[in-house]
Symmetry: C2
Subunit: 328 residues, 2 copies
Amino acid sequence: MKSRIAVAILSTCGISLAFAGEPIQPIEAAVITEPGKVELGKKLFFEPRLSKSGFLSCNSCHNLALGGGDLLPTSIGHNWQQGPINAPTVLNAKYMLAQFWDGRAADLQEQAAGPIANPKEMALEHEVALDVLRSMPAYRAEFNAVYGDETISLDQVTDAIAKFEETLVTPDSRFDLWLKGDKQAITAYEQEGYELFKSSGCAGCHSGPAVGGTMYQKMGLREPFETDNPAQGRIDVTGKSYHRMVFKVPTLRNIDLTYPYFHDGSTYDLTEAVITMQKVQRGKDLPLEEAEKITAFLQTLTGKQPQIVMPILPPSNRNTPQPQPFVD
Amino acid sequence: MKSRIAVAILSTCGISLAFAGEPIQPIEAAVITEPGKVELGKKLFFEPRLSKSGFLSCNSCHNLALGGGDLLPTSIGHNWQQGPINAPTVLNAKYMLAQFWDGRAADLQEQAAGPIANPKEMALEHEVALDVLRSMPAYRAEFNAVYGDETISLDQVTDAIAKFEETLVTPDSRFDLWLKGDKQAITAYEQEGYELFKSSGCAGCHSGPAVGGTMYQKMGLREPFETDNPAQGRIDVTGKSYHRMVFKVPTLRNIDLTYPYFHDGSTYDLTEAVITMQKVQRGKDLPLEEAEKITAFLQTLTGKQPQIVMPILPPSNRNTPQPQPFVD
């Protein structure tokens, strides 16, 4: 009776029954309702003139050719500064309960403003970034067409970037096909890996459509996670000591593409990462063959990557603030 | 009679008569005969793992969202090193008589090998770059499918990149439409600019389909070109003193997109660049209104930009040499 009610509720929510009992739900294809904003946001996502150097764009560290990340332990910012933490993938980021590892941005729009002005990242003051865009008639016209206003505000810029990023989802992974009823879509071995993923407690935190991103959790719940990385997690947002080393649970979607792993990017090996997680979160030594099965399951989470036609960006002119690539 | 013979010869060469008397010929759309090589080459063009840092690709400095350049005076290389010379656009580069400003590479294939291993650019030894590619089954399979061989050689890598770059042409500029007979495609003002371009001697060097790239020429033929840039040009290739400050004549196709100008990237202003060229190459002070007309003509040379669907690059694995972003 209870499960019948649950099913009824899920049906109301539009979630198909095939996977009602599973901790993971499929990623659905993007439905684009505001194509003008998405197209403008794509331009801004690829726009290196939103950086002080004129060289770095959102796509530099959230490279859509590379699973939406940069494949580096921590990123490279203005003047080749080393970033403090591993760049999370932008793919399926819309499913996260908040943005950044410590959740300090409520949503994609709030997140988008951060790296532009961060002196370790793109290092361009917001007002200068806006002046760069305002200097170009083509951008003014496009903002006017999309927002009915050609003044170009930071809110509009970040709204457009967020609208583009919301389209960056990866449906139709083999696991999703399996969830939706195609029982041949994953192998028996991979399915055993999925059962282990659940029975070993991974799914307790890594759940929902993005297989993560629905909660915060302490890194090193049972045993300390050894790292040289100084990040302290959510304590920096809340000031509460029990939030030390508490991070947003990362998505495992496309995990095969988004190495190196953990907030410190300390391992490139997915199986090793699985074993480490069992150790620090559950205090257990996972046998290698079980870790390999879980790895095989995780590799079925690679979905259809967004097909992105590169934007053609409008030219600067004599009114455009010039980049300062070799100024600290 | 002489011109009738010329016309006959041109007809034999397949060049339409409409523009037989003009110093500029239209850019023709790419005809792709080896799509597998082009597709592989596109992956390699966007492949940051061909750099020591794992962060820089061909597209970093020859950005196809930005007219095939980086819009910087000189480029940013490994560890944020400042490059020695302005990055030339990759668009229409196949029309150049040789590659690099000093022509030290005979063709696109020879050029492609340079930046990968240049310690100031991507800084990755060729053998390591090849090992990176060889470590990934998806690359091995693709090289095998395209070259019938999965050993992956530098020649294959650079051949594929060159094959992709040969497709990066920009047909159908307004000027080309005019050349081909659409007399409304450019304005009377722009056409006056074109006449000035010819009568002022610009077309003496900037000719051919790419409006440049067909010869070497001294920069500062009549008066010295003042610059802090130490590049000496073709003397570094030939050792001949009369090749000091002799550079390949750059293409003026898409010149409105490919600022800043000159081998030292010393000006962002196209009209200023036109005036400087008249001064140093012809010893003449071009009136501003004539320079502005020539500028208006030059802006008609912006062609249809290549529409590039970003490639999805295969994931590294435990056999892939890891990037070293923070090692000199």
